[in-house]
């Protein structure tokens, strides 16, 4: 915690320093505008500002919104929310050693997390070593989740309620890329601390990988002494788009303690596929789909799914790109998100009927980008949520308006 405070104070110091200096000294490093960027590049593909000759660059983003949602005729009324404020600090320690950290304040200061804090060593383009707090590269959203990049206020349900995005852990790994004409191939592989048994013992009453996140002790020790492996391969063609395949697996239960074997090693294993492309009509399509398998004792309740699956697809169509209100390159987009999660793919032992516990969601949206780094967005969300017995779905819907910007 002290380290977090120190980092915050450091960031505030630089923010104060900024106010005292000539803005001309704030240099925006030239961004790589190549079209062969991958989701794995997202962590460094952010606007940073450098202060004079200081060896660090600063950045961040914020998200705030208003929403009016109701479920089956009951509403909590008008709500204003400060979803998150994220600060980035990066530093080029040497030509081929870089450091980056991302500190996130969610819901005001309700949650403060170091989402990313790692050092990268480049030995060769195909061999980089990364160590520290890393984002486990499962799916694309966990790697590429900055609010200003998305036209939707809520993060995808499958990414945050089935997969545990944003999910980071302490560990080490390697990554690399190879370019060949219009293609780029990439891989990532990490060994980190991982899950704990809260994924099947939680107040969500379902198998819930994100339940492992509140346990901050995973940044100092592995819950069960075993490692979580996360690996991803991705390929992008400058004209076709990107596709990624990822895999994550590790034991989640405390299978031994003080040398005594308590249980067999029970694994949580996730497969994900993600893609994104831009059509000639400038229509941007991105999505991911994931499958979760959790080895749960037969004697535990069927309420907790042994298998889950779900995903989302976003379609974003620019409908107006021109100067608007004095913003030279403003864009008005129409967008649509479709989502589905099945938290429990099993069947009831007692009846053989399929277990419910699914959500469908559709979100039409309009977003306005005065610049590429800032977005104002208006969403209409409609969810159908079935309980595990497959009773009539509860319906949740409402309007959301919000803004998100890098700074």
């Amino acid at each position: 915690m002290k380290q977090v405070c120190l980092l915050i104070l450091t960031a505030l110091f630089f923010a104060q320093a900024n106010a005292q200096i000539d803005p001309e000294l704030l240099r925006k490093p030239q961004a790589d505008t190549g079209s062969l960027k991958l989701n794995m590049d997202a962590v460094y593909d952010r606007p940073f500002a450098k202060v004079g000759k200081l060896p660090v660059a600063l950045g961040g983003y914020m998200e705030a919104n208003y929403q009016y949602l109701g479920e089956d005729g009951v509403t909590e009324g008008h709500q204003f929310q400060m979803r998150r404020l994220t600060l980035f600090v990066s530093s080029s320690i040497s030509q081929r050693i870089k450091f980056l950290t991302e500190i996130e304040f969610e819901d005001g200061t309700k949650e403060i997390n170091i989402e990313f804090a790692s050092v990268d060593f480049e030995f060769a383009p195909l061999l980089n070593f990364r160590g520290g707090i890393v984002m486990n590269p499962i799916g694309a959203f966990n790697q590429n989740h900055d609010g200003p990049k998305w036209e939707f206020i809520d993060r995808p349900i499958s990414a945050t309620q089935m997969l545990p995005a944003t999910f980071s852990n302490v560990g080490f790994g390697i990554f690399g890329k190879k370019y060949a004409n219009k293609w780029v191939y990439a891989y990532e592989a990490y060994l980190t601390n991982g899950f704990n048994d809260r994924i099947i013992e939680n107040s969500e009453n379902k198998t819930f990988l994100p339940a492992t996140k509140p346990d901050a002790s995973r940044f100092e020790e592995s819950f069960n002494g075993s490692m979580l492996f996360t690996g991803k391969v991705a390929v992008r063609n400058s004209r076709i788009g990107e596709i990624g395949l990822s895999y994550m697996s590790g034991a989640y239960n405390k299978f031994q303690e003080d040398g005594l074997v308590l249980d067999k090693k029970r694994l949580a294993t996730i497969y994900a596929v993600d893609f994104n492309t831009t059509l000639p009509t400038k229509t941007f399509i991105t999505g991911e789909w994931a499958w979760v398998n959790v080895d749960i004792p037969d004697t535990y309740t069927e309420q907790f799914g042994r298998k889950q699956q779900g995903g989302f697809v976003d379609i974003v169509q620019p409908i107006l790109q021109r100067s608007m209100f004095g913003f030279g390159k403003a864009t008005l987009n129409a967008a649509l998100r479709l989502e589905y999660v099945d938290w429990n793919k099993g069947s009831f032992k007692s009846t053989g009927d399929k277990v419910g516990d699914q959500v469908y969601s559709i979100i039409p949206a309009i977003s306005w980008r005065p610049t590429s780094q800032t977005v104002l967005r208006l969403n209409y969300r409609y969810n159908w949520q079935r309980d595990m017995l497959n009773n009539l779905p509860s319906r949740l819907a409402g309007l959301q308006f919000g803004l998100s910007t890098y700074f």
């Binding site: 009016y68 949602l69 109701g70 479920e71 089956d72 005729g73 009951v74 509403t75 048994d197 809260r198 099947i200 013992e201 939680n202 107040s203 969500e204 009453n205 239960n253 308590l262 249980d263 029970r266 749960i296 004792p297 004697t299 535990y300 309740t301 069927e302 309420q303 608007m324 209100f325 009831f348 007692s350 009846t351 009927d353 419910g356 208006l378 209409y380 409609y382 309980d387 595990m388 017995l389 497959n390 009773n391 009539l392 319906r395 949740l396 819907a397 409402g398 309007l399």
Partner: protein, 400 residues
């Protein structure tokens, strides 16, 4: 010009969104389609207690950290009673060990309730060899407060233990022991052997909603309370895992859940079906109306309600005799289940009917045909109805 049009468009869109705020939300289901919701006329203070109980009942999920198990049936109250309606075979529980009126001889072997699930690292219970057992599908919670507010005298007035009117239907209360923590309601009738009238549960073996609630915490979820503090796994005395306040809030919630509202009462078929139901003497046990007596919650006191039950034990014949029983009930005797809310059962049972005490009947007609014993004559009368009259009778039952 274009800029002005854009501004106008934005303003118009904003106005439209503002005006449509209340219309973009999903509407509530009609009150008569829901089983949850409070009785009318609660005070502000009572509404707050109701909401606290609602949250504890429907939202509180127990985990290992909060006391679940280690052996259990369900992780929350709401798991077994979705929308406060009838349960599903998934949450059906099993009772075992008692086959006569002499008591349960398997209390030291895990009885009376089987906890067939366990948190990781523990083994669930198994039914002891030779023990009689029966499966109980969770009932709806709706209108339970009205039942609690009925006086013992009213229940006894409905009984005809020796069938003195010769109609083949007797009906008697289950005389039970009452736990020390129960608050004995005024007007309670106590038999000479210090037994009290039970009125809750499939066998009417539970005295009041406090006993029902703390038993469910303890036996269904493995949650110990000040009232029921024996750990179901090891039989040892355990610290409370739920506060008295929460227990009392849940009891108040159950007491003040509204009674189901009958639908399509003006439908001619429904009206005809009601008459056919009564003509078949179904109403002799499924009593259409009962009056509550004096009760501490004014909204429940001295009210007429329509449970379609007499809350008494009846011999239902060999087909429904599982060999297991509770209190002074015989194995073939079951408390008349209230029929109110029957038509909404599917809404909490995954779109299907799972009727009778263990959910074995997949339709109302099948449930009727499984009646026997004291209900044999009524079942035969139903069987002799024309197809259209059967449909009318079922339409009436589904309107409840």
């Amino acid at each position: 010009m274009k800029k002005k049009l854009l501004v106008l468009f934005c303003l118009a869109a904003s106005m439209l969104i503002y005006l449509s705020c209340g219309k973009v939300l999903p509407g509530a289901a009609e009150d008569d389609q829901l089983l949850d919701g409070p009785v009318e006329g609660l005070t502000s203070e009572q509404k707050k207690a109701f909401l606290r109980g609602d949250a504890a009942f429907n939202n509180e999920i127990f985990t290992k950290e909060t006391g679940l198990g280690p052996v259990f049936v369900a992780t929350s109250c709401g798991t077994c009673h979705a929308g406060d309606g009838k349960g599903h075979p998934f949450s059906t529980l099993t009772r075992f060990g008692q086959s006569d009126t002499l008591g349960n001889r398997f209390l030291n072997n895990g009885g009376p309730q089987l906890q067939h699930r366990a948190i990781p690292g523990f083994q669930p219970e198994k039914i002891s060899p030779g023990a009689a057992f029966s499966n109980f599908t969770p009932p709806a919670n709706t209108g339970l407060g009205f039942l609690e507010a009925v006086s013992d005298a009213t229940l006894l007035s409905l009984a005809d233990e020796n069938d003195s009117d010769g109609d083949g239907i007797s009906g008697r209360p289950n005389w039970i022991n009452v736990p020390a923590y129960s608050f004995i309601r005024s007007g309670t009738i106590i038999r000479s052997d210090r037994k009290y009238i039970g009125r809750f549960g499939k066998k009417a073996a539970v005295y009041d909603l406090l006993q029902q609630t703390v038993n469910a915490y303890n036996q269904d979820m493995g949650i110990n309370s000040f009232y029921e503090h024996i750990n179901t796994y090891n039989g040892q005395d355990a610290d409370p895992e739920v506060t008295n306040q929460t227990v009392q809030d849940v009891v108040f919630y159950l007491q003040t859940l509204k009674a189901p509202i009958q639908r399509t009462t003006n439908d001619a078929d429904v009206q005809a079906g009601r008459q056919l139901f009564l003509n078949s003497n179904c109403g002799k046990c499924h009593t259409p109306q009962i009056q509550t007596g004096n009760f501490p919650i004014a909204q429940l006191a001295n009210k007429t309600f329509s449970p379609f039950s007499d809350f008494l034990l009846h011999d239902m014949g060999p087909a429904l005799n599982d060999g297991y029983t509770e209190g002074a009930a015989m194995p073939a005797e079951w408390r008349t289940p209230p029929l109110w809310g029957l038509g909404l059962s599917k809404n909490s049972q995954g779109g299907k009917y799972f009727l009778l005490h263990d959910g074995r009947a997949g339709s109302i007609e099948q449930a009727v045909n499984l009646h026997g014993g004291e209900a044999q004559q009524s079942k035969l009368k139903f069987g002799q109805l024309s197809a259209s009259d059967k449909i009318k009778t079922i339409k009436f039952l589904e309107s409840l």
